[in-house]
Amino acid sequence: MTAELPALQVVIPLLCAPLCLLFRSRTAAWLMFLLAALASLGCAVLMAGQVAGGDMLRYEMGGWEPPVGIEYVIAGFNVPLLLLVSTIAVVVAVYGRRSLESEISSSRIPLLYACLCLNLTGLLGIVSTGDVFNAFVFLEIASLSSYALIAMGKGRRALLAAFQYLVIGTVGAVFILIGVGLTYAVTGSLNMADLAARLPDAYGNRALTAGAVFVFVGFAVKMAVFPLHGWLPDAYAEAPSAVSTFLAATGTKVAIYAFMRFAFTVFGAALVFERLPLDRIGLSLASLAMLVGAAAACFQTDLKYLLAWSSVAHVGYIVAGYSLATVDGVQASYLHLINHAVIKGSLFAAAGILMLRLGSVRLEALSGLGRTMPWTFGAIAVAGLGLVGVPLTAGFVSKWALATALIDEGQGLVLAAMLVSSLLAVVYTGRIIEIGWFREPSGSTAAAGTTPVSMGVATWALVLASLYFGVDPRLPASLADAAASALLGPGGG
């Protein structure tokens, strides 16, 4: 059975989606999502063990040998993503039960869980597939389900956010489609490995160059790289808390992975970073993203918007890493990808608890939180320090890795941008802590009810994970290590 894992980890969540619909009972649907998450996590762990030695799992769908058929490829470069996405899914499943029930009308919840299963399927599919068009299809699955999920937010503004995301996201997807098409026209192939083998002969072909540009612009939209980040703040801030948690921790991350996969193992660094100036463009956009995102975060009056903007900044960090096109850089990217997912996930989860207890996450509603809700506030404070990159938090580890990578390449300006952005992070995190700790509790902060255990546990699980990765970063570091060598090593591009 172990040979079938690459297929199963995607098929089981897929199977759970229609079942959610069939049962139409909240509990059953929730169990289905939990099952899907656990199953994919199990598969991911097993496969991580299988590829630990640096080898690659290839799975031929329908038994048709690629490039005739579609294949799944599991290797060092996507195992971290599989683990990340499925782990977050499990956490969100634990977290979401009460959170969703408190925010969504109960008749919709089974459908919502179906959407979550589909989103999980889509993300895992993008990560696992070795076929460019198949990647597009799964990208659309993930996108469509996330549009629906975001639209489920409380306020009417959520609908607008979802629609804007839909339009921008679809344009991005069509750009990817165009790029894939142009590449297909000059190679006749859709299989990533086959493309990687055929493309070098076609280097210099203008259609191919344009194709690469379209693909990367398309992914840049999905990654919310500055200046294509417009959709992100509204989308993350307006979505239901559990959804924000899931998307913030996985959505952009998977897009970033796809970008790296295409850049290094399909088009090849030689084309992307030497013939095309994507390294310089990437670094400058990354620096701008760090600065703009962090600065904007400082001016937010709503916690979820603040977090969303800081996500824009952190996408910048990750982009800066792989734009160096060095092993260290890619490693730093993966490291920050994992760490930031955990940190931001915990923060959005905590925000969800506040949403449940206070009915609002506007900053002034948080005054005196340190006394009224010490645990939740503690989670926010600790994870916030992670965003800043205080030593012994996960944030510092990945920022350190990124800093050294940047210095090795002599990218002083980017480093400066990174430092400034970290200091801005001090400002926006400091604002939250200050309000929560040094302001008297206001009327609304005298919170109603108690925090559901499941939500608290899930949140703190992520917080503790981020702390652990800060103190003992061996696990993420080794994953990132394997990923970088798989992407840049002979095995990959």
């Binding site: 079938e4 297929a7 199963l8 098929v11 897929l14 199977l15 989606a17 229609p18 079942l19 619909l21 069939l22 799975y59 031929e60 769908m61 329908g62 038994g63 048709w64 490039p67 005739v68 058929g69 579609i70 009308s105 008749s107 919709r108 459908l111 919502l112 959407c115 589909l118 399927t121 889509g122 599919g125 076929d131 068009f133 198949n134 299809v137 799964f138 659309e140 699955i141 469509l144 389900s145 549009y147 629906a148 639209a151 489920m152 750009f175 142009l182 026209a185 000059v186 190679t187 006749g188 192939s189 072909n205 203008r206 259609a207 191919l208 160059t209 344009a210 194709g211 540009v213 379209f214």
Partner: protein
């Protein structure tokens, strides 16, 4: 200038004219109808380029389903567009210029149109799909065999996409207390045409034929254009027509809502189970060779048939459900 080129140019001309008009039109009903025309013309272009299945689908979807959906939405909302302020046009121009420039740049190195030695044509898979497929699968319509067997996983993905859309629309529209939403069984006034005897009779007459045609398309997909998706759309179209004439409740009497909703997950389940069956019979996921032990070709046939069927079921279910959830929602005006 060959006949082919001439037709191409004419059709493209029409398309461009239509597109420009759409962009300038502020009356959305007209714009929608022109969009349908756009789809129709592009469908004929597809035929011209030998993509009969695509043409079939585009006609069914572009002209049929999405037009109906657009009209339904316009009935629910406002059908006139405000003037777009000038400021909005500048970013648009910039983006279009950049993207267009990039495309023109690309076009210089694109392989010759309809050249026989382009990378696409000479790639090994071409031979597999066009020749070897006859021995591996034995289905004349190679599109079907690629769709349902070689790249069956894409088709599964496609099915999941449409399923996602169905779930999403239900999530957004069905069972949600929109302002002034009318009770079960009462179709929006704009859509009830049952007072016209001719329409009543004809639509009643047509329904069985449409459904019959749907099944024909479904099972004929291996030999000619058509397949599960087109069949599903046509099947749904039958009920859509019926619904347009007799209102939602009328259509519901023929196809009860639970049934329509049950169809949505059913198709996907069938598909996935089929794939898993291939796995259990010793092959990979979606491997149909083993379905008929000892006779791979027959196995493939069976697999493809089941794939088409499951696609048809889900697509039909989704389309009907989507249409109903639009139709059974009253305008908030």
């Amino acid at each position: 200038m060959s006949m082919f080129v001439l037709m191409n140019l004419t059709l493209f001309g029409i398309l461009a004219a239509t597109a420009v008009t759409i962009s300038r039109l502020r009356a959305l009903y007209e714009a929608t109808m022109l969009t349908a025309l756009f789809s129709l013309v592009s469908a004929s272009l597809f035929v011209l380029m030998d993509a009969v299945d695509v043409a079939f689908t585009e006609a069914a979807v572009g002209v049929g389903i999405s037009t109906v959906l657009f009209l339904g939405v316009l009935a629910l909302t406002r059908s006139r567009e405000d003037v777009t302020p000038r400021i909005r046009q500048w970013p648009a121009r910039v983006v279009v210029l950049l993207a267009g420039g990039m495309l023109v740049y690309a076009s210089q190195d694109l392989p010759r149109f309809e050249g026989a030695t382009t990378p696409v044509q000479v790639h090994p898979v071409t031979d597999v799909y066009l020749r070897e497929s006859q021995d591996d699968i034995g289905v004349p319509n190679t599109v079907t065999s690629v769709l349902a067997s070689y790249r069956a996983h894409d088709t599964l993905g496609e099915l999941v996409v449409i399923f996602t859309a169905g779930v999403a629309v239900l999530l957004l529209l069905a069972s949600s207390p929109g302002p002034g939403r009318r009770e079960e069984g009462e179709g929006p006034a704009e859509l009830v045409l049952a007072d016209y005897r001719v329409l009543r009779v004809i639509s009643k007459l047509l329904l069985p034929f449409i459904l019959l045609f749907a099944f024909y398309v479904l099972f004929h997909g291996e030999y000619g254009p058509g397949g599960g998706f087109q069949a599903g759309v046509i099947f749904a179209a039958g009920f859509v027509l019926y619904g347009l004439v007799f209102g939602v409740d009328g259509a519901r009497r023929v196809l009860p809502r639970p049934l329509a909703w049950a169809m949505i997950p059913l198709g996907i389940l069938l598909y996935v189970v089929l794939g898993l069956a291939g796995m259990l019979l010793g092959g990979e996921f979606l491997d149909f060779q083993g379905l008929r032990p000892g006779d791979p070709q027959a196995g493939q046939h069976l697999g493809i048939l089941l794939v088409e069927t499951s696609v048809g079921i889900t697509v039909a279910g989704v389309m009907v459900a989507v249409f109903f959830s639009f139709a059974s929602r009253r305008a908030a005006r």
